[in-house]
Protein backbone atom coordinates (compact mmCIF):
# COMPACT_ATOMS: atom_id res chain seq x y z
CA UNK A 1 0.00 0.00 0.00
CA UNK A 2 1.12 3.56 -0.74
CA UNK A 3 -0.52 6.80 0.29
CA UNK A 4 -3.25 8.36 -1.79
CA UNK A 5 -1.19 11.53 -2.18
CA UNK A 6 1.72 9.48 -3.58
CA UNK A 7 -0.64 7.83 -6.07
CA UNK A 8 -1.93 11.27 -7.12
CA UNK A 9 1.61 12.50 -7.57
CA UNK A 10 2.58 9.51 -9.75
CA UNK A 11 -0.56 9.88 -11.87
CA UNK A 12 0.26 13.55 -12.48
CA UNK A 13 3.55 12.46 -14.01
CA UNK A 14 1.88 10.16 -16.54
CA UNK A 15 1.84 11.47 -20.09
CA UNK A 16 -1.40 9.86 -21.36
CA UNK A 17 0.33 9.31 -24.70
CA UNK A 18 -2.12 6.68 -25.82
CA UNK A 19 -5.09 9.02 -25.60
CA UNK A 20 -3.61 11.85 -27.65
CA UNK A 21 -5.65 15.02 -27.47
CA UNK A 22 -8.96 13.30 -26.87
CA UNK A 23 -8.58 12.89 -23.14
CA UNK A 24 -9.56 9.70 -21.47
CA UNK A 25 -13.32 9.99 -21.53
CA UNK A 26 -14.38 12.68 -23.95
CA UNK A 27 -16.69 11.26 -26.65
CA UNK A 28 -16.65 14.53 -28.59
CA UNK A 29 -19.14 17.32 -28.30
CA UNK A 30 -21.41 16.63 -31.27
CA UNK A 31 -22.78 13.13 -30.78
CA UNK A 32 -26.04 12.79 -32.62
CA UNK A 33 -28.20 10.45 -30.56
CA UNK A 34 -30.59 9.81 -33.45
CA UNK A 35 -27.69 8.66 -35.61
CA UNK A 36 -26.33 6.53 -32.79
CA UNK A 37 -29.73 4.96 -32.35
CA UNK A 38 -30.52 4.30 -36.04
CA UNK A 39 -27.08 2.90 -36.85
CA UNK A 40 -27.29 0.76 -33.71
CA UNK A 41 -30.74 -0.48 -34.68
CA UNK A 42 -29.35 -1.45 -38.10
CA UNK A 43 -27.39 -4.26 -36.42
CA UNK A 44 -30.24 -5.51 -34.23
CA UNK A 45 -30.69 -8.64 -36.33
CA UNK A 46 -26.94 -9.25 -36.52
CA UNK A 47 -26.63 -11.85 -33.81
CA UNK A 48 -22.99 -12.86 -34.17
CA UNK A 49 -21.69 -10.53 -31.50
CA UNK A 50 -20.37 -12.67 -28.68
CA UNK A 51 -16.97 -11.79 -27.25
CA UNK A 52 -14.42 -14.53 -27.59
CA UNK A 53 -10.73 -13.84 -27.71
CA UNK A 54 -8.05 -16.42 -27.06
CA UNK A 55 -5.33 -13.77 -26.80
CA UNK A 56 -2.19 -14.31 -24.76
CA UNK A 57 -3.78 -12.12 -22.10
CA UNK A 58 -7.39 -13.20 -22.51
CA UNK A 59 -10.14 -10.65 -22.43
CA UNK A 60 -12.50 -11.27 -19.58
CA UNK A 61 -15.56 -12.02 -21.74
CA UNK A 62 -17.63 -9.91 -19.43
CA UNK A 63 -21.32 -9.39 -19.94
CA UNK A 64 -22.07 -5.76 -19.26
CA UNK A 65 -25.80 -5.70 -19.71
CA UNK A 66 -28.63 -7.74 -21.10
CA UNK A 67 -31.55 -6.47 -23.08
CA UNK A 68 -35.02 -7.54 -22.11
CA UNK A 69 -34.80 -10.31 -24.68
CA UNK A 70 -32.04 -11.78 -22.53
CA UNK A 71 -29.29 -11.09 -25.05
CA UNK A 72 -25.93 -9.86 -23.84
CA UNK A 73 -24.89 -6.33 -24.85
CA UNK A 74 -21.17 -6.40 -24.24
CA UNK A 75 -20.20 -4.84 -27.56
CA UNK A 76 -21.01 -1.52 -29.17
CA UNK A 77 -22.75 -3.04 -32.18
CA UNK A 78 -23.25 -0.53 -34.95
CA UNK A 79 -23.28 0.14 -38.66
CA UNK A 80 -20.74 2.56 -40.08
CA UNK A 81 -23.44 3.71 -42.50
CA UNK A 82 -26.97 2.53 -43.25
CA UNK A 83 -26.68 3.61 -46.87
CA UNK A 84 -26.42 0.53 -49.10
CA UNK A 85 -26.33 -0.25 -52.81
CA UNK A 86 -27.26 -3.93 -52.45
CA UNK A 87 -30.74 -5.32 -53.08
CA UNK A 88 -31.26 -7.79 -50.27
CA UNK A 89 -34.98 -8.51 -50.26
CA UNK A 90 -35.22 -8.89 -46.46
CA UNK A 91 -33.21 -5.81 -45.46
CA UNK A 92 -34.53 -2.34 -44.56
CA UNK A 93 -31.33 -0.72 -45.86
CA UNK A 94 -31.72 -2.27 -49.31
CA UNK A 95 -32.11 0.02 -52.33
CA UNK A 96 -35.39 -1.72 -53.17
CA UNK A 97 -36.94 -1.08 -49.74
CA UNK A 98 -39.80 1.40 -50.04
CA UNK A 99 -39.82 2.31 -46.35
CA UNK A 100 -36.42 3.95 -46.04
CA UNK A 101 -35.24 5.57 -42.85
CA UNK A 102 -32.94 8.56 -42.93
CA UNK A 103 -29.40 7.61 -43.90
CA UNK A 104 -26.53 8.37 -41.57
CA UNK A 105 -22.83 7.77 -41.52
CA UNK A 106 -20.10 8.14 -38.92
CA UNK A 107 -16.68 9.59 -39.55
CA UNK A 108 -13.80 7.33 -38.47
CA UNK A 109 -12.74 9.66 -35.65
CA UNK A 110 -16.28 10.16 -34.39
CA UNK A 111 -16.93 6.43 -34.19
CA UNK A 112 -13.54 5.77 -32.59
CA UNK A 113 -14.18 8.37 -29.89
CA UNK A 114 -17.65 7.10 -29.03
CA UNK A 115 -16.33 3.54 -28.81
CA UNK A 116 -13.39 4.57 -26.65
CA UNK A 117 -15.60 6.58 -24.32
CA UNK A 118 -18.06 3.74 -23.82
CA UNK A 119 -15.18 1.33 -23.28
CA UNK A 120 -13.38 3.44 -20.71
CA UNK A 121 -16.59 4.02 -18.78
CA UNK A 122 -17.01 0.22 -18.78
CA UNK A 123 -20.29 0.15 -20.69
CA UNK A 124 -18.84 -2.13 -23.36
CA UNK A 125 -16.09 -4.69 -23.86
CA UNK A 126 -15.46 -3.83 -27.49
CA UNK A 127 -16.78 -2.87 -30.91
CA UNK A 128 -18.81 -4.85 -33.42
CA UNK A 129 -18.67 -2.90 -36.68
CA UNK A 130 -20.79 -3.69 -39.71
CA UNK A 131 -22.05 -1.48 -42.50
CA UNK A 132 -24.15 -0.97 -45.55
CA UNK A 133 -22.05 -0.86 -48.70
CA UNK A 134 -22.74 2.83 -49.41
CA UNK A 135 -22.32 3.85 -53.04
CA UNK A 136 -18.89 2.27 -53.13
CA UNK A 137 -18.17 -0.76 -50.94
CA UNK A 138 -14.40 -0.28 -51.20
CA UNK A 139 -14.63 3.24 -49.86
CA UNK A 140 -16.78 2.17 -46.90
CA UNK A 141 -14.40 -0.67 -46.14
CA UNK A 142 -11.54 1.85 -46.13
CA UNK A 143 -13.44 4.07 -43.72
CA UNK A 144 -14.13 1.15 -41.38
CA UNK A 145 -10.45 0.21 -41.46
CA UNK A 146 -9.51 3.80 -40.74
CA UNK A 147 -11.79 3.68 -37.68
CA UNK A 148 -10.05 0.55 -36.42
CA UNK A 149 -6.65 1.98 -37.17
CA UNK A 150 -7.41 5.10 -35.13
CA UNK A 151 -8.76 3.05 -32.26
CA UNK A 152 -5.82 0.70 -32.09
CA UNK A 153 -2.89 2.91 -33.02
CA UNK A 154 -3.87 6.45 -32.12
CA UNK A 155 -5.97 5.82 -29.03
CA UNK A 156 -4.30 2.61 -27.84
CA UNK A 157 -7.64 0.77 -27.64
CA UNK A 158 -7.03 -2.76 -26.36
CA UNK A 159 -10.64 -3.97 -26.28
CA UNK A 160 -12.25 -6.52 -28.54
CA UNK A 161 -13.09 -5.73 -32.18
CA UNK A 162 -15.31 -7.77 -34.48
CA UNK A 163 -15.40 -6.41 -38.04
CA UNK A 164 -17.86 -7.44 -40.72
CA UNK A 165 -16.08 -7.78 -44.04
CA UNK A 166 -18.23 -6.38 -46.83
CA UNK A 167 -18.98 -8.89 -49.59
CA UNK A 168 -16.50 -8.54 -52.46
CA UNK A 169 -13.82 -6.78 -50.36
CA UNK A 170 -10.29 -6.84 -51.75
CA UNK A 171 -7.63 -9.16 -50.41
CA UNK A 172 -5.58 -6.13 -49.27
CA UNK A 173 -8.49 -4.79 -47.21
CA UNK A 174 -9.11 -8.21 -45.70
CA UNK A 175 -5.47 -8.54 -44.74
CA UNK A 176 -5.48 -5.16 -43.02
CA UNK A 177 -8.73 -5.98 -41.23
CA UNK A 178 -7.21 -9.19 -39.90
CA UNK A 179 -4.30 -7.27 -38.41
CA UNK A 180 -6.57 -4.84 -36.55
CA UNK A 181 -9.56 -6.94 -35.48
CA UNK A 182 -9.90 -9.85 -33.06
CA UNK A 183 -12.52 -11.47 -35.24
CA UNK A 184 -13.89 -10.89 -38.74
CA UNK A 185 -16.91 -12.36 -40.43
CA UNK A 186 -18.69 -12.43 -43.77
CA UNK A 187 -22.35 -13.27 -43.70
CA UNK A 188 -23.32 -16.26 -45.84
CA UNK A 189 -26.99 -15.19 -45.52
CA UNK A 190 -28.14 -18.32 -47.41
CA UNK A 191 -27.23 -21.99 -47.53
CA UNK A 192 -26.47 -22.15 -51.26
CA UNK A 193 -25.84 -20.02 -54.31
CA UNK A 194 -29.34 -20.51 -55.71
CA UNK A 195 -30.89 -19.56 -52.37
CA UNK A 196 -28.77 -16.41 -52.19
CA UNK A 197 -29.97 -15.50 -55.71
CA UNK A 198 -33.50 -15.77 -54.37
CA UNK A 199 -32.91 -13.27 -51.59
CA UNK A 200 -30.32 -10.92 -53.12
CA UNK A 201 -29.77 -10.11 -56.80
CA UNK A 202 -26.55 -8.14 -56.32
CA UNK A 203 -24.27 -10.60 -54.50
CA UNK A 204 -22.41 -13.58 -55.91
CA UNK A 205 -22.24 -16.48 -53.44
CA UNK A 206 -19.01 -17.87 -54.84
CA UNK A 207 -17.14 -14.68 -55.69
CA UNK A 208 -18.34 -12.18 -53.09
CA UNK A 209 -18.63 -14.51 -50.11
CA UNK A 210 -16.95 -17.93 -50.31
CA UNK A 211 -13.87 -16.62 -52.09
CA UNK A 212 -13.42 -13.92 -49.39
CA UNK A 213 -13.85 -16.51 -46.65
CA UNK A 214 -11.04 -18.52 -48.24
CA UNK A 215 -8.84 -15.40 -48.28
CA UNK A 216 -9.35 -15.12 -44.54
CA UNK A 217 -8.61 -18.81 -44.01
CA UNK A 218 -5.41 -18.57 -46.06
CA UNK A 219 -4.17 -15.30 -44.53
CA UNK A 220 -4.73 -16.38 -40.94
CA UNK A 221 -1.57 -16.95 -38.90
CA UNK A 222 -0.19 -16.91 -35.38
CA UNK A 223 0.01 -13.15 -35.21
CA UNK A 224 -3.37 -12.04 -36.52
CA UNK A 225 -7.05 -12.53 -35.87
CA UNK A 226 -6.94 -14.34 -32.50
CA UNK A 227 -10.67 -15.09 -32.51
CA UNK A 228 -10.84 -16.31 -36.11
CA UNK A 229 -13.73 -15.88 -38.52
CA UNK A 230 -17.44 -16.53 -38.09
CA UNK A 231 -20.51 -16.33 -40.31
CA UNK A 232 -24.26 -15.82 -40.11
CA UNK A 233 -27.32 -17.05 -42.01
CA UNK A 234 -30.82 -15.73 -42.33
CA UNK A 235 -33.01 -18.72 -41.49
CA UNK A 236 -36.03 -19.37 -43.66
CA UNK A 237 -35.93 -16.40 -46.05
CA UNK A 238 -35.31 -18.60 -49.11
CA UNK A 239 -37.32 -21.66 -48.08
CA UNK A 240 -34.26 -23.75 -47.25
CA UNK A 241 -34.50 -26.70 -44.86
CA UNK A 242 -32.60 -27.03 -41.59
CA UNK A 243 -30.62 -29.87 -43.12
CA UNK A 244 -29.58 -27.56 -46.02
CA UNK A 245 -28.35 -25.05 -43.46
CA UNK A 246 -26.46 -27.54 -41.32
CA UNK A 247 -24.89 -29.23 -44.36
CA UNK A 248 -23.52 -25.84 -45.38
CA UNK A 249 -22.33 -25.15 -41.84
CA UNK A 250 -20.54 -28.50 -41.65
CA UNK A 251 -18.70 -27.47 -44.82
CA UNK A 252 -17.87 -24.09 -43.27
CA UNK A 253 -16.46 -25.69 -40.11
CA UNK A 254 -14.50 -28.33 -42.00
CA UNK A 255 -13.25 -26.52 -45.10
CA UNK A 256 -13.24 -22.82 -44.24
CA UNK A 257 -12.25 -23.13 -40.59
CA UNK A 258 -15.12 -20.95 -39.37
CA UNK A 259 -15.08 -20.79 -35.54
CA UNK A 260 -18.82 -20.74 -35.23
CA UNK A 261 -22.00 -19.91 -37.12
CA UNK A 262 -24.92 -17.74 -36.06
CA UNK A 263 -28.53 -18.08 -37.10
CA UNK A 264 -31.03 -15.27 -37.38
CA UNK A 265 -34.66 -16.24 -37.95
CA UNK A 266 -36.13 -14.38 -40.91
CA UNK A 267 -38.45 -11.62 -39.82
CA UNK A 268 -40.35 -9.67 -42.53
CA UNK A 269 -39.62 -5.93 -42.45
CA UNK A 270 -41.92 -3.15 -43.59
CA UNK A 271 -41.29 -1.94 -47.15
CA UNK A 272 -38.97 -4.78 -48.14
CA UNK A 273 -39.61 -7.13 -51.08
CA UNK A 274 -40.17 -9.95 -48.57
CA UNK A 275 -42.58 -7.95 -46.42
CA UNK A 276 -45.46 -10.35 -47.11
CA UNK A 277 -43.45 -13.54 -46.52
CA UNK A 278 -44.08 -15.49 -43.38
CA UNK A 279 -41.63 -14.87 -40.56
CA UNK A 280 -39.84 -17.82 -39.03
CA UNK A 281 -40.52 -18.88 -35.44
CA UNK A 282 -37.72 -18.20 -32.99
CA UNK A 283 -37.79 -21.83 -31.90
CA UNK A 284 -36.32 -22.77 -35.30
CA UNK A 285 -33.31 -20.58 -34.60
CA UNK A 286 -33.06 -22.11 -31.11
CA UNK A 287 -33.12 -25.71 -32.44
CA UNK A 288 -30.43 -24.87 -35.01
CA UNK A 289 -28.22 -23.53 -32.21
CA UNK A 290 -28.78 -26.75 -30.28
CA UNK A 291 -27.73 -28.78 -33.32
CA UNK A 292 -24.74 -26.52 -33.87
CA UNK A 293 -23.73 -27.11 -30.25
CA UNK A 294 -23.95 -30.89 -30.74
CA UNK A 295 -21.65 -30.57 -33.76
CA UNK A 296 -19.09 -28.11 -32.37
CA UNK A 297 -18.94 -28.90 -28.66
CA UNK A 298 -20.16 -32.50 -28.38
CA UNK A 299 -18.51 -33.45 -31.69
CA UNK A 300 -21.47 -35.60 -32.78
CA UNK A 301 -20.66 -37.09 -36.21
CA UNK A 302 -22.98 -36.40 -39.20
CA UNK A 303 -24.18 -40.01 -38.90
CA UNK A 304 -25.64 -39.20 -35.47
CA UNK A 305 -27.15 -35.79 -36.16
CA UNK A 306 -29.13 -37.00 -39.18
CA UNK A 307 -31.63 -38.62 -36.76
CA UNK A 308 -32.86 -35.23 -35.60
CA UNK A 309 -34.46 -34.27 -38.96
CA UNK A 310 -37.87 -35.16 -40.36
CA UNK A 311 -38.28 -36.56 -43.88
CA UNK A 312 -38.12 -33.09 -45.45
CA UNK A 313 -35.00 -32.12 -43.58
CA UNK A 314 -36.60 -29.90 -40.90
CA UNK A 315 -36.04 -30.08 -37.15
CA UNK A 316 -38.91 -30.71 -34.76
CA UNK A 317 -39.69 -28.20 -32.06
CA UNK A 318 -38.20 -30.47 -29.42
CA UNK A 319 -34.72 -31.14 -28.08
CA UNK A 320 -32.73 -32.66 -30.99
CA UNK A 321 -30.42 -34.44 -28.56
CA UNK A 322 -33.39 -36.34 -27.19
CA UNK A 323 -34.45 -37.37 -30.71
CA UNK A 324 -30.93 -38.63 -31.42
CA UNK A 325 -30.73 -40.48 -28.09
CA UNK A 326 -34.01 -42.28 -28.76
CA UNK A 327 -32.58 -43.61 -32.01
CA UNK A 328 -29.08 -44.47 -30.82
CA UNK A 329 -29.41 -45.61 -27.21
CA UNK A 330 -31.12 -48.98 -27.47
CA UNK A 331 -30.62 -49.90 -23.84
CA UNK A 332 -29.89 -47.89 -20.69
CA UNK A 333 -26.26 -47.08 -19.91
CA UNK A 334 -24.45 -47.72 -16.66
CA UNK A 335 -22.52 -44.51 -15.82
CA UNK A 336 -19.95 -46.71 -14.06
CA UNK A 337 -19.12 -48.51 -17.31
CA UNK A 338 -20.14 -46.42 -20.32
CA UNK A 339 -17.40 -44.73 -22.34
CA UNK A 340 -17.32 -40.92 -22.57
CA UNK A 341 -18.64 -40.84 -26.15
CA UNK A 342 -21.78 -42.73 -25.04
CA UNK A 343 -22.27 -40.72 -21.87
CA UNK A 344 -22.51 -37.44 -23.78
CA UNK A 345 -25.27 -38.91 -25.93
CA UNK A 346 -27.50 -39.08 -22.86
CA UNK A 347 -29.85 -36.08 -22.51
CA UNK A 348 -28.97 -34.20 -19.32
CA UNK A 349 -25.28 -35.13 -19.52
CA UNK A 350 -22.92 -32.65 -21.18
CA UNK A 351 -19.18 -32.81 -21.86
CA UNK A 352 -18.32 -31.35 -18.46
CA UNK A 353 -20.54 -33.66 -16.40
CA UNK A 354 -19.41 -36.64 -18.51
CA UNK A 355 -15.79 -35.78 -17.72
CA UNK A 356 -16.64 -35.50 -14.02
CA UNK A 357 -18.30 -38.93 -14.12
CA UNK A 358 -15.22 -40.43 -15.76
CA UNK A 359 -12.96 -38.73 -13.16
CA UNK A 360 -15.06 -39.84 -10.17
CA UNK A 361 -15.37 -43.48 -11.15
CA UNK A 362 -11.58 -43.81 -11.18
CA UNK A 363 -11.78 -43.57 -7.39
CA UNK A 364 -15.14 -45.18 -6.58
CA UNK A 365 -18.36 -46.44 -8.10
CA UNK A 366 -21.38 -44.22 -8.52
CA UNK A 367 -24.19 -45.64 -6.41
CA UNK A 368 -27.09 -43.17 -6.61
CA UNK A 369 -28.75 -40.49 -8.69
CA UNK A 370 -27.94 -37.80 -6.14
CA UNK A 371 -24.24 -38.35 -6.79
CA UNK A 372 -24.82 -37.78 -10.48
CA UNK A 373 -26.81 -34.66 -9.63
CA UNK A 374 -23.85 -33.31 -7.64
CA UNK A 375 -21.73 -33.77 -10.78
CA UNK A 376 -24.06 -31.54 -12.78
CA UNK A 377 -26.24 -34.18 -14.46
CA UNK A 378 -29.86 -33.14 -15.06
CA UNK A 379 -31.41 -36.19 -13.44
CA UNK A 380 -34.94 -35.69 -14.70
CA UNK A 381 -33.76 -35.89 -18.31
CA UNK A 382 -31.01 -38.44 -17.87
CA UNK A 383 -32.58 -41.19 -15.74
CA UNK A 384 -34.69 -42.81 -18.48
CA UNK A 385 -31.43 -43.57 -20.30
CA UNK A 386 -29.40 -44.72 -17.29
CA UNK A 387 -29.15 -47.70 -15.00
CA UNK A 388 -26.98 -47.59 -11.91
CA UNK A 389 -25.60 -50.92 -10.74
CA UNK A 390 -28.31 -52.73 -12.67
CA UNK A 391 -31.20 -50.55 -11.44
CA UNK A 392 -33.10 -48.49 -13.91
CA UNK A 393 -35.44 -45.65 -13.07
CA UNK A 394 -37.52 -46.24 -16.19
CA UNK A 395 -40.46 -43.97 -16.86
CA UNK A 396 -42.44 -42.74 -19.81
CA UNK A 397 -40.39 -39.54 -19.67
CA UNK A 398 -38.05 -41.12 -22.20
CA UNK A 399 -40.75 -40.78 -24.82
CA UNK A 400 -41.93 -37.28 -24.06
CA UNK A 401 -40.45 -34.20 -25.77
Amino acid sequence: MVTLEKIAHLASDCQFDSFGSVGPLDPGSNINLEKLSILGEGTRHDVCASTYSPRKSPLPGICHAFTQDGRCVSLFKTLYTNHCSHQCNYCINSTNCSHRVQTFSYTPDELARVTLSLYRSNYIEGLFLSSGAGRNGDLIMEKMLETLERLRRRYGFSGYIHLKILPGSSQAHIKEAMELADRVSINLEAASSSQLDEICATKSYENDILKRQRYIRDLRGEENLPAGQTTQLVVGAAGESDQDILDRILYEYREIGVKRAYYSAFSPQKGTAFESRKGQPLWREHRLYQMDWLIRVYHFPPGDIKWAFDEEGFLFNSDPKLAIARELLDSPLDPNEAPYRDLIRVPGIGPRSAMRIVALRKTRRIAANRELEALGVVIKRATPFLKINGWRDATLKMWSG
Binding site: M1, L10, P24, L25, I31, L33, G40, V73
Partner: protein, 212 residues
Protein backbone atom coordinates in the same frame (compact mmCIF):
# COMPACT_ATOMS: atom_id res chain seq x y z
CA UNK B 1 -18.52 -22.56 -13.48
CA UNK B 2 -15.47 -24.70 -12.69
CA UNK B 3 -13.88 -24.64 -9.26
CA UNK B 4 -10.30 -23.36 -9.77
CA UNK B 5 -7.29 -24.81 -7.96
CA UNK B 6 -6.72 -21.44 -6.24
CA UNK B 7 -10.20 -21.63 -4.70
CA UNK B 8 -8.86 -20.72 -1.23
CA UNK B 9 -8.11 -17.24 -2.56
CA UNK B 10 -11.78 -16.78 -3.42
CA UNK B 11 -12.99 -18.45 -0.25
CA UNK B 12 -10.96 -15.97 1.80
CA UNK B 13 -12.91 -13.14 0.13
CA UNK B 14 -16.29 -14.57 1.15
CA UNK B 15 -18.16 -12.51 3.74
CA UNK B 16 -18.69 -15.62 5.91
CA UNK B 17 -15.24 -17.11 5.47
CA UNK B 18 -13.45 -18.36 8.58
CA UNK B 19 -10.07 -19.81 9.52
CA UNK B 20 -11.70 -23.21 10.03
CA UNK B 21 -13.30 -23.23 6.58
CA UNK B 22 -10.07 -22.11 4.94
CA UNK B 23 -8.13 -24.87 6.70
CA UNK B 24 -10.75 -27.39 5.53
CA UNK B 25 -10.63 -26.07 1.94
CA UNK B 26 -6.84 -26.39 1.77
CA UNK B 27 -7.30 -30.15 1.78
CA UNK B 28 -9.23 -30.02 -1.51
CA UNK B 29 -8.05 -29.55 -5.07
CA UNK B 30 -10.40 -27.78 -7.48
CA UNK B 31 -11.48 -31.05 -9.07
CA UNK B 32 -12.09 -32.61 -5.62
CA UNK B 33 -14.55 -29.85 -4.84
CA UNK B 34 -16.26 -30.28 -8.20
CA UNK B 35 -16.78 -33.98 -7.56
CA UNK B 36 -17.67 -33.87 -3.89
CA UNK B 37 -21.11 -34.79 -2.58
CA UNK B 38 -20.01 -34.20 1.05
CA UNK B 39 -22.25 -31.45 2.58
CA UNK B 40 -19.36 -29.30 3.78
CA UNK B 41 -17.57 -29.70 0.44
CA UNK B 42 -20.73 -28.65 -1.36
CA UNK B 43 -20.98 -25.61 0.93
CA UNK B 44 -17.36 -24.63 0.18
CA UNK B 45 -18.04 -25.02 -3.54
CA UNK B 46 -21.09 -22.76 -3.28
CA UNK B 47 -19.12 -20.13 -1.36
CA UNK B 48 -16.35 -20.08 -4.00
CA UNK B 49 -18.96 -19.79 -6.74
CA UNK B 50 -20.75 -16.96 -4.94
CA UNK B 51 -17.54 -14.93 -4.76
CA UNK B 52 -16.55 -15.63 -8.37
CA UNK B 53 -20.06 -14.79 -9.53
CA UNK B 54 -19.96 -11.44 -7.77
CA UNK B 55 -16.50 -10.67 -9.20
CA UNK B 56 -17.78 -11.49 -12.69
CA UNK B 57 -20.82 -9.26 -12.39
CA UNK B 58 -19.05 -6.36 -10.69
CA UNK B 59 -16.49 -6.29 -13.51
CA UNK B 60 -19.40 -5.96 -15.88
CA UNK B 61 -21.87 -3.79 -14.02
CA UNK B 62 -19.71 -1.04 -12.55
CA UNK B 63 -19.80 2.23 -14.48
CA UNK B 64 -16.83 4.57 -14.28
CA UNK B 65 -17.00 8.34 -14.42
CA UNK B 66 -14.17 10.82 -14.91
CA UNK B 67 -12.91 13.24 -12.32
CA UNK B 68 -10.61 15.60 -14.14
CA UNK B 69 -8.33 13.87 -16.62
CA UNK B 70 -6.57 11.46 -14.28
CA UNK B 71 -9.25 9.74 -12.21
CA UNK B 72 -12.01 7.28 -12.98
CA UNK B 73 -14.39 6.53 -10.15
CA UNK B 74 -17.36 4.27 -9.63
CA UNK B 75 -19.82 3.21 -6.95
CA UNK B 76 -19.42 -0.30 -5.58
CA UNK B 77 -20.73 -1.89 -2.39
CA UNK B 78 -19.94 -5.60 -2.75
CA UNK B 79 -21.30 -8.31 -0.46
CA UNK B 80 -17.93 -10.08 -0.36
CA UNK B 81 -14.40 -8.76 0.18
CA UNK B 82 -13.62 -8.21 -3.51
CA UNK B 83 -13.07 -4.42 -3.59
CA UNK B 84 -9.31 -4.52 -3.99
CA UNK B 85 -9.42 -7.14 -6.74
CA UNK B 86 -12.05 -5.30 -8.80
CA UNK B 87 -10.24 -2.00 -8.43
CA UNK B 88 -7.01 -3.60 -9.61
CA UNK B 89 -8.86 -5.01 -12.64
CA UNK B 90 -9.97 -1.56 -13.77
CA UNK B 91 -6.56 -0.04 -13.06
CA UNK B 92 -4.94 -2.63 -15.35
CA UNK B 93 -7.46 -1.77 -18.03
CA UNK B 94 -6.68 1.97 -17.70
CA UNK B 95 -2.92 2.27 -17.18
CA UNK B 96 -1.79 5.65 -15.84
CA UNK B 97 -5.29 6.52 -14.60
CA UNK B 98 -6.26 6.42 -10.92
CA UNK B 99 -9.28 4.18 -10.34
CA UNK B 100 -11.39 4.70 -7.22
CA UNK B 101 -14.26 2.42 -6.25
CA UNK B 102 -16.31 2.44 -3.11
CA UNK B 103 -19.33 3.62 -1.16
CA UNK B 104 -20.10 5.54 2.03
CA UNK B 105 -17.65 3.97 4.44
CA UNK B 106 -15.15 2.02 2.33
CA UNK B 107 -13.12 2.75 -0.79
CA UNK B 108 -10.36 1.20 -2.85
CA UNK B 109 -7.86 3.08 -5.01
CA UNK B 110 -5.47 1.65 -7.60
CA UNK B 111 -3.05 2.98 -10.21
CA UNK B 112 -0.98 0.99 -12.68
CA UNK B 113 2.16 3.07 -12.97
CA UNK B 114 5.08 1.89 -15.12
CA UNK B 115 3.91 -1.70 -14.78
CA UNK B 116 3.59 -1.50 -10.99
CA UNK B 117 0.28 -1.66 -9.16
CA UNK B 118 -0.13 1.04 -6.47
CA UNK B 119 -3.05 0.55 -4.10
CA UNK B 120 -4.68 2.27 -1.16
CA UNK B 121 -7.75 1.74 1.02
CA UNK B 122 -9.86 4.62 2.24
CA UNK B 123 -12.72 5.42 4.57
CA UNK B 124 -15.32 6.10 1.89
CA UNK B 125 -15.80 7.24 -1.69
CA UNK B 126 -16.49 10.92 -0.92
CA UNK B 127 -13.56 11.19 1.44
CA UNK B 128 -11.12 9.59 -1.04
CA UNK B 129 -12.30 11.65 -3.98
CA UNK B 130 -12.11 14.82 -1.89
CA UNK B 131 -8.49 14.07 -1.00
CA UNK B 132 -7.66 13.30 -4.63
CA UNK B 133 -9.22 16.57 -5.77
CA UNK B 134 -7.04 18.44 -3.33
CA UNK B 135 -3.91 16.51 -4.28
CA UNK B 136 -4.47 16.90 -8.02
CA UNK B 137 -5.64 20.49 -7.81
CA UNK B 138 -9.06 19.75 -9.34
CA UNK B 139 -11.32 22.76 -8.75
CA UNK B 140 -14.78 22.41 -7.24
CA UNK B 141 -17.47 23.13 -9.83
CA UNK B 142 -20.87 24.59 -9.33
CA UNK B 143 -23.74 22.11 -9.58
CA UNK B 144 -21.20 19.34 -9.29
CA UNK B 145 -23.44 17.04 -7.26
CA UNK B 146 -23.89 13.70 -8.93
CA UNK B 147 -26.71 11.18 -8.49
CA UNK B 148 -24.90 9.24 -5.79
CA UNK B 149 -24.44 12.31 -3.64
CA UNK B 150 -20.73 12.62 -4.31
CA UNK B 151 -19.67 16.17 -4.95
CA UNK B 152 -18.29 15.46 -8.39
CA UNK B 153 -18.40 16.50 -11.99
CA UNK B 154 -18.08 14.02 -14.86
CA UNK B 155 -16.77 15.06 -18.25
CA UNK B 156 -16.40 18.47 -19.78
CA UNK B 157 -19.22 20.94 -20.03
CA UNK B 158 -20.96 20.69 -23.39
CA UNK B 159 -20.47 16.95 -23.86
CA UNK B 160 -23.33 14.48 -23.52
CA UNK B 161 -23.61 12.39 -20.42
CA UNK B 162 -22.31 8.88 -21.10
CA UNK B 163 -25.49 7.44 -19.59
CA UNK B 164 -27.54 9.18 -22.31
CA UNK B 165 -25.28 7.87 -25.07
CA UNK B 166 -25.44 4.36 -23.62
CA UNK B 167 -29.20 4.46 -23.10
CA UNK B 168 -29.77 5.56 -26.73
CA UNK B 169 -27.65 2.66 -27.95
CA UNK B 170 -29.07 0.14 -25.49
CA UNK B 171 -32.64 0.99 -26.49
CA UNK B 172 -31.72 0.57 -30.17
CA UNK B 173 -30.85 -3.06 -29.55
CA UNK B 174 -34.23 -3.98 -28.09
CA UNK B 175 -36.27 -6.43 -30.13
CA UNK B 176 -39.87 -6.83 -28.95
CA UNK B 177 -40.26 -10.17 -30.71
CA UNK B 178 -37.51 -11.66 -28.58
CA UNK B 179 -38.70 -10.28 -25.27
CA UNK B 180 -37.70 -12.62 -22.45
CA UNK B 181 -37.90 -10.96 -19.07
CA UNK B 182 -37.00 -14.15 -17.22
CA UNK B 183 -33.62 -14.34 -18.97
CA UNK B 184 -33.09 -10.63 -18.39
CA UNK B 185 -33.76 -10.93 -14.66
CA UNK B 186 -31.59 -14.03 -14.32
CA UNK B 187 -28.64 -12.33 -15.95
CA UNK B 188 -29.06 -8.92 -14.40
CA UNK B 189 -29.74 -9.84 -10.74
CA UNK B 190 -31.22 -6.81 -8.94
CA UNK B 191 -28.92 -7.52 -5.97
CA UNK B 192 -25.77 -7.12 -8.08
CA UNK B 193 -27.13 -4.10 -9.92
CA UNK B 194 -27.63 -2.51 -6.53
CA UNK B 195 -24.07 -3.41 -5.45
CA UNK B 196 -22.73 -1.64 -8.53
CA UNK B 197 -25.09 1.33 -8.16
CA UNK B 198 -26.46 0.53 -11.61
CA UNK B 199 -29.68 2.09 -12.73
CA UNK B 200 -31.96 -0.75 -13.71
CA UNK B 201 -31.41 -1.10 -17.44
CA UNK B 202 -34.76 -1.20 -19.08
CA UNK B 203 -36.92 0.56 -21.59
CA UNK B 204 -38.68 2.74 -19.10
CA UNK B 205 -40.67 4.57 -21.77
CA UNK B 206 -42.17 1.38 -23.11
CA UNK B 207 -42.91 -0.46 -19.89
CA UNK B 208 -46.39 -1.81 -19.39
CA UNK B 209 -48.20 -3.22 -16.38
CA UNK B 210 -47.24 -6.66 -17.66
CA UNK B 211 -43.60 -5.87 -16.91
CA UNK B 212 -44.39 -5.82 -13.21
Amino acid sequence: MRVPDDHCRYLAMHAKSSERLLARAKGFKGMDLELTADPEGVRLKKMVRAVRGEIYRMKGFIRLKPLGGQVLWGYMKPRHRIGELICEHFARRNPGVIVVLGYGSESWTALLWQGRMMQDRGAGLDETLGRLKAALGIPEKENGEDADGANLEGGDAGTLDMDDIWQAYYDSQYCLKRKNLQAFQQRMPARDQQSAGLRLVQRRKEMTLEDF
